[in-house]
């Protein structure tokens, strides 16, 4: 297995005059569960969109498995966005058919199993589903892929504590162990037991890029380290 699945090299991205990512460079270690942490507006979603090929207008170089974001990487990267990207008229079955059509790594039997597990109706249209149900559909679609890299943008955002446990359980039990998970979250406490590696963004920079064991070796939890790093970052400002 290669050491890193994705390499971000001197990437900068601004929205107008607002510089969101300022010449950042790091590698996403392969086969690990990587937490991408940071305050609102620090660039987590922007970075994920660059990796998944939704943003092209940036400077620097991004490679996934040695390739720039494109057809090759998109076939290997599964993106769980917080956006409702399914057509309103899609039924759950239509969404499964769609993913089965376009992604060679899509595991249809697993998708059907997760549909049953989530208690979803295959014939229910997205427009008649609650927000939570739509999120479950998106989650099952992503977790039914045998991707090399799963990029998840706030998978626990806006979800009640009971549902968070279920979602986390589904994620951890259904991703391929050879794959890499890159998860952005504010719920550090909920996920820190699952992370192997942590990247903290702030003020356009990478404030921390560390293996979890190194943090624990300092006698700190991820949440404590986050507060320390962010506290210092605020002081710098």
């Amino acid at each position: 297995m290669p050491e890193s699945i994705a390499a971000i090299e001197h990437v900068s991205k601004s929205y107008g005059k607002h510089l969101v990512l300022d010449d950042i460079s790091f590698e996403v270690p392969a086969g690990k569960i990587v937490g991408l942490l940071g305050a609102n507006g620090c660039g987590k979603t922007t970075l994920m969109k660059i990796i998944t090929g939704l943003i092209h207008d940036y400077s620097g170089k991004v490679t996934i498995a040695g390739h720039r974001p494109g057809v090759y990487s998109k076939a290997r990267v599964a993106f769980l966005s917080d956006r409702s990207y399914l057509a309103d008229w899609f039924k759950t079955a239509d969404a499964i058919d769609y993913f089965d059509d376009f992604f060679e790594d899509f595991d249809r039997p697993k998708a059907m199993e997760l549909t049953e597990r989530f208690g979803l109706d295959l014939n229910q249209r997205v427009k008649t589903m609650s927000k939570g149900m739509q999120e479950k559909v998106r989650l099952l679609l992503v977790m039914s892929r045998r991707a090399e890299l799963y990029v998840m943008d706030e998978p626990l955002g806006g979800v009640d504590p009971a549902a968070r446990s279920v979602i986390l359980d589904i994620i951890m039990k259904n991703y391929s162990e050879k794959s890499t998970l890159l998860i952005s979250t504010h719920q550090v406490h909920d996920l820190e037991q699952s992370f192997n590696h942590v990247i903290i963004l702030g003020h356009g920079k990478v404030l921390l890029n560390s293996d979890i064991y190194e943090i624990h070796a300092q006698g700190m939890s991820v949440e404590e380290k986050y507060r320390e790093v962010y506290g210092n970052a605020w002081e710098v400002d």
Binding site: K74, F79, S84, A87, F102
Partner: protein, 274 residues
Amino acid sequence: MLGKLIKNDMKSMARGVSNIYIAAFIAIGAMGVCLFFDVGVGKTISSLVLLAVSIAAIVVTLMATIGEFRKSMFGDRGYLTHTLPVKAPTLLFSKWLTCIFWITVSYSVVFLCLWLIYYYWTGESSTEALIYILQSLPDVGLPAEDIMVKTVLLIAVKILLLLWVFVLEVFFVITLANVRPFDAAGSVGPILYFFVVFGLLTFCSSRLERVFKSALLVHADGSLSLTADAALIDSVRFAGGASVTLTQIYFQVVVAVLLFIVTAELLEKKINLK
């Protein structure tokens, strides 16, 4: 992949336009019932409804194609579209093929509805009268019936081709409006850029027609030929034939290819989904 894209795009578009075609079939059915039972008021109302529905069909289809492109490429659905392992030119080609299919269908529906309305009201005897009039056209210096029919069909095909290019112009301006720095214009951007692009292309096309005359000639004997000779065009018309200018078509085909390439390039390298 292209086949799968077309399949899914067709399904998506069908959902957006099916209602208007269902309305057209209902209106046609209502006309048939009124004709069968000779209901006078019903005939009038159903004819007016069919006329309105036929015009609405092409307008609704155009709006639906534009809306579908915008939503699937730059709305929330774009988060799925742009993460598919498919090249941008393939995505664009599928969208364009789907749009021109439905536009062609709506175009055909308009002609069908207009013919039905005409036949419904005039009946067989008046159709014979129309045929007599068409056959008498050469007596008043106009091209004969078969020449007129061929010319009208060629003009209809020309308009349809121009509509296909129009779709690409719209795709281009919508894409442009989602690229820096053109996205600064906000929601007004696509409309603004469309008028600029459309105006520029129309201006260039009219200038080109003055310099380079190309036409498809429909000779008096019914044969077809191409020419760039203005004198020949006039002499064929004088001899009872007709012509359909092609300069605009050639220009629009070149424009369409260029717009396709530029739009695909913008999609591949410049868009930022919000």
